[in-house]
């Protein structure tokens, strides 16, 4: 297992990592390297990668516990039992054509949004907070479904990512008929 915190700084992720004392690599991605490579648009996102380094389960939503089940409707046990069966070799991976059909690939606007995010993140770390916020806003307009940008940059814009502005954004998004979490449609 490899875990990656998509956070503005290692310090944001530190309390969770120190509490969990993981034996696996527990990494920090402040510049959205992973989001860019794997087209991540929200967290949690999980992938299965086999011994040969091949993606056998593309971006999916799964939780390790049922803490958020009342909000997400997703049961941790569903993914955990499928994962155990795969690790033990009791199931074979999906056919490649099926994996590709389930993948969500980035669009030009997704990548433009990531460039705007990248510039904003750099500006933020130069202390150019207001300039950074403008680029984060542009990024959010280009990729409104990308919550690693829209919600993930809230702490860099002085906004509580669990607060009323998040709930307002989420409410408008869901009301317009859009899903916040996009588990694989298996």
């Amino acid at each position: 297992m490899i875990t990656v915190a998509i956070d503005k700084s290692a310090e944001d992720a530190r309390p969770w990592i120190e509490a969990a004392k993981p034996a696996h690599p527990s990494l920090i991605d402040t510049t959205h390297v992973l989001a860019d490579l794997y087209n991540l648009v929200n967290v949690p996102t999980i992938l299965w990668i086999d011994e040969r380094g091949r993606i056998v389960r593309p971006n999916d939503v799964a939780f390790g516990t049922d803490t958020f089940k009342h909000i997400t409707g997703l049961e941790a046990a569903t993914h955990l039992s499928a994962l155990r069966a795969w690790v033990r070799g009791e199931t074979t991976a999906l056919p490649e054509a099926r994996i590709r059909a389930l993948q969500s690939l980035p669009t030009d606007d997704d990548q433009r949004a990531r460039a705007e995010f990248g510039l904003g993140e750099w500006l933020f770390n130069q202390g150019r907070i207001e300039a950074a916020a403008r680029h984060f806003a542009t990024a959010g307009e280009l990729a409104p479904h990308d919550f690693t940008i829209r919600r993930g940059t809230m702490p860099m814009r002085g906004i509580d990512p669990m607060g009323p502005q998040f709930r307002e954004m989420l409410g408008a998004w869901v009301k317009a008929g859009n899903p916040y979490y996009r588990p694989l449609a298996e």
Partner: protein, 94 residues
């Protein structure tokens, strides 16, 4: 703009160049189909990777390799885990 410093962030690395050169680099990247974010007031540009390139890599099903630091700053890469099954989990404090 000549004589003014300009930062170009390419491949995640920031380099300071002369503004004339920086703007030329950004234009060239845009011409080559790359997503580019520019801020002339802040004298900085970010050169990204285009969707076709990312989509091609993902649809090959070869998991893109990456190297990222842990809390102690030690870098770990996905490729170090070759030969083992990997559950990759992205999460956040937000």
């Amino acid at each position: 703009m000549a004589g003014t410093k300009f930062t170009v962030i390419d491949g995640g690395r920031a380099a300071e160049v002369d503004a004339v050169e920086g703007i030329a680099l950004a234009k060239r990247a845009e011409g080559a189909g790359r997503p580019v974010a520019v801020d002339l007031d802040e004298r900085a540009a970010y050169l990204g990777v285009n969707a076709a390139e990312r989509a091609k890599a993902l649809s090959s099903l070869e998991a893109p390799d990456f190297a990222l630091p842990d809390l102690d700053g030690r870098r770990h890469s996905l490729s170090e885990h070759r030969g083992k099954k990997v559950l990759l989990v992205a999460y956040a404090s937000w």
